[in-house]
């Protein structure tokens, strides 16, 4: 009996070692060579075919975002009309699955155009022992096509291409929009009814809140049920105290800034005040998508969240009067004039696509100023083409701040390996009661720094 079992186990081990040898990793170079050779042939064939007008299927992968999907379906029809030999096959996945599905489909050479978020969280020179972000991994694997020099790239403003679409001097993605997450929606009517001016400093905000609550209204609401809206709502607070968020991340890594600095203590105390005094009770149960309706009910003064809530707000209560301002987290009004955010969706092309010409045409047509402007308005992105303007209320509200848009902390932060869960102070607002267990700002600051330090210390090992 034992002999058979050993043979059996032996076969098993051999089989799985063969697996490992063949699956992924260095021998994948072999695998890459073969498809590359085949692809060259296929590309030639397709180029010929394109000239002859033979049918081409252009496979596009996007993430779910209803206004965007609606726009894309209309755009695909237009594109197919302009290029009759091309059929667009568009697939949709949830945003959280986009990275994984991009990886599998690029590897299987099963996609031509992909939707990819703005390049962020790249390894900076002052960071050690950090992994490349997923977009960089795609580039290093040769999975994304080099778009440098393509005419449509010039339609976008320089910051977009450099910050959100380039690596190592080459362009790999055209980014389609910025979103701001650090502002707050203001119910101007409610403020006016209570003789409260729109706050421009932290003290004014505190006073405004006290007035509102004393009058029986509520100061602020956010989607506490989903956790993340609490700390995203406080990104403006973070930004107001540290207007240069890139420098903040660098300082934390080099040790010039610590979470338990005297200056940073102000941040934690304000986080606590925001979480416990400003946000209305019951926020722990409010889901993120129910927040606009809550705000539109009219008895809440402020809703700190991202601009993506604007369409939902409009739909919840059309005609509701609102404005959008940066979260005034500083006592100094000049610090409160930036909107922080990130680059959202962009396009990239699979390097091994057999339909190179069609894919480039697709991006080119999308990037035409008229088409792009329609897109930005449909989705509510802050435009990345200098010629596009937003015709919506949101466009009006954010227009004064467009010049001073800055990429936020979340897009720079990488936790050093070994850091504890409290090291990412950007999420600090959501750690205070009632959302989590902390009640002492100074103690939490100490813990945050200790968690971060543990990671930094482990780097030198």
């Amino acid at each position: 009996m034992s002999k058979r079992i050993w043979i059996f186990m032996g076969l098993l081990v051999v089989a799985s070692l063969l697996f490992v040898a063949c699956g992924g990793g260095a021998p994948a170079e072999e695998a890459a060579e073969e498809p590359a050779a085949e692809v060259e042939e296929a590309v030639e064939e397709v180029e010929e075919a394109a000239e002859e007008g033979e049918p081409v299927t252009l496979r596009v992968l996007i993430h779910q975002n209803p206004p965007m999907v609606e726009f894309m379906e209309a755009f695909n029809d237009e594109f197919e009309a302009a290029y009759p030999n091309v059929t667009v096959d568009m697939s949709i996945v949830e945003a959280g699955d986009l990275a994984t599905v991009s990886q599998t489909r690029l590897t299987a050479n099963d996609v031509d155009v992909i939707d990819i978020f703005g390049f962020a969280n790249g390894a900076q020179p002052y960071m050690t022992d950090v992994d490349a972000p997923n977009w960089q991994q795609f580039i290093e694997a040769g999975l994304l096509m080099d778009l440098t020099g393509q005419p449509f790239v010039d339609n976008y403003d320089e910051a977009t291409i450099t910050d959100a679409g380039s690596y190592d001097g080459k362009v790999y993605s055209i980014n389609l929009g910025r979103v701001s997450y650090s502002g707050m929606f203001v119910n101007e009517d409610l403020l006016a009814a209570n003789n409260v001016a729109v706050p421009t400093t932290w003290d004014e905000l505190v006073a405004a809140c006290e007035t509102l609550t004393a009058a029986g209204a509520n100061c602020m609401t956010a989607g506490g049920g989903d956790s993340w809206p609490i700390f995203v709502g406080a990104y403006g607070l973070l930004g107001a105290l540290y207007p240069d968020q890139e420098a903040l991340v660098e300082g934390l890594w080099t040790g010039d800034i610590k979470w338990n600095d005297e200056q940073t203590l102000e941040l934690w105390e304000k986080y606590q005040y925001y979480a416990q005094e400003m946000l209305e009770p019951g926020v722990t149960g409010l889901s993120h998508d129910a927040t606009p309706a809550r705000f539109a009910a009219g008895d809440v003064g402020f809703m700190p969240t991202g601009v993506w809530q604007a369409p939902a707000l409009e739909e919840a209560e059309p005609g509701f009067e609102w404005s959008y301002i940066p979260f005034p987290g500083s006592d100094n009004p000049e610090d409160n004039q930036y909107l922080f955010g990130k680059y959202d969706q962009g396009w990239a092309i699979a390097a091994n696509t057999p339909s190179e010409e069609a894919a480039l045409n697709y991006l080119a047509m999308f990037s035409e100023p008229d088409n792009y402007e329609a897109f930005a308005n449909a989705v509510g992105f802050i435009p990345t083409q200098p010629t596009a303007t937003l015709a919506t209320q949101l466009g009006e509200e954010v227009a004064p701040y467009l010049e001073s848009f800055r990429v936020g902390y979340e897009q720079f932060w990488i936790a050093p390996k070994g850091a504890g869960q409290w090291a990412n102070g950007g999420e600090g607002a959501s750690w205070f009661q009632p959302f989590n267990e902390w009640d002492d700002a100074a103690a939490l600051a100490e813990q945050a720094q200790a968690d971060l330090q543990a990671g930094l210390d482990s780097l030198s090992e």
Binding site: H63, Q64, P66, S287, H288, D289
Partner: protein, 292 residues
């Protein structure tokens, strides 16, 4: 196993014993009903919430997520059906589920029975292997590479392969088959029955409760699966019903009422399956199967 025997002497006091027991049984019955009622509310409540959500309009839902709908808004069901292209997707899901489950259950019986009876060398090891299968680490990338290299990516055949395995089913079957009396084997063998026929014609009908249970659990698992189709079935004509739900989901939130309606439509086939198989799950051994 069992140590109770009856004897003729003890049959006569039946009536008086029954009388005493009648009152006792009523008492237990009441407790039983009350317990079931409490559980019933605990289960019915949340499920009714799903139904009530499906009857609301979206603004209604945002205003009051947990209240009762003010009007019966059946549009959601119509919308759900149309938007998700459910007709096509349902057919796909039915095919995947039916084919996989059938293939699986046949192979599973022939795995479980020898283990239960110890008819194969190393049966303990094989069983342990299947138990280990329950807690194997997820192997997303190696599996992906395997399917890719077999040329079965974006292919229903490759997709079905994933569902030829289900250690839970094996474990349930083995557990159940062990309770079948060994005399069964002996009488069949004495009658000249071959192994294959024995399993096919005698064991399978007797194992109906366990088989029905496993079929239900396995089918539901396939029906509700979302991650695997997202990765392995990228052509729309292959989409199962779960992929259709995505049209109702937004980036930061979803169209809950229509989603709820879609979910109710989607679960109907599995509900029907369960209702149908319930009978088998609780079908007892026909008394006398072993006698003689």
């Amino acid at each position: 196993m069992n140590t109770l025997t009856t004897s003729k002497d003890q049959i006569t006091p039946v009536q008086s014993a029954n009388k005493r027991d009648t009152r006792k049984i009523n008492w237990w019955r009441i407790v039983g009903y009350v317990t079931l009622l409490i559980f019933g509310i605990l289960y019915l409540g949340p499920l009714l919430m799903l139904v009530s959500t499906s009857l609301k309009t979206l603004p209604e839902f945002f205003k009051s997520a947990t209240g009762l709908p003010t009007s019966l808004n059946l549009n959601n069901f119509v919308d759900a059906w149309e938007q998700a292209n459910f007709a096509r997707l349902l057919i796909n899901s039915v095919i995947y589920t039916a084919v996989s489950t059938t293939l699986y259950i046949i192979t599973a019986i022939f795995v479980a029975f020898p283990i239960a009876r110890g008819l194969v060398r190393g049966h303990k090891l094989i069983f342990t292997l299947f138990v280990i299968a329950l807690f194997l680490p997820p192997a997303l990338i190696p599996q992906f590479q395997l399917i890719l290299r077999l040329g079965l990516y974006n292919n229903p055949v490759g997709y079905i392969l994933f569902f030829l395995i289900n250690p839970i089913g094996i474990i349930i079957l083995v557990g159940y088959l062990r309770t079948l009396p060994k005399e069964l084997d002996e009488s069949a063998a004495m009658d000249g029955c071959s192994y294959f026929r024995f399993v096919w014609q005698i064991v399978i009908p007797l194992a109906r409760p366990a088989i029905a249970t496993v079929v239900v659990l396995h089918a539901i698992g396939i029906w509700n699966e979302l991650i695997l189709p997202t990765i392995y079935l990228t052509s729309k004509e292959y989409y199962p019903v779960t992929r259709g739900l995505i049209v109702f989901q937004g980036v930061y939130g979803s169209n809950w009422p229509t989603l709820a309606a879609a979910v109710l439509i989607l679960t109907l086939p599995m509900l029907i399956l369960f209702l149908f198989l319930q009978r088998y799950i609780i079908s007892g051994l026909t008394a006398g199967a072993v006698k003689g």
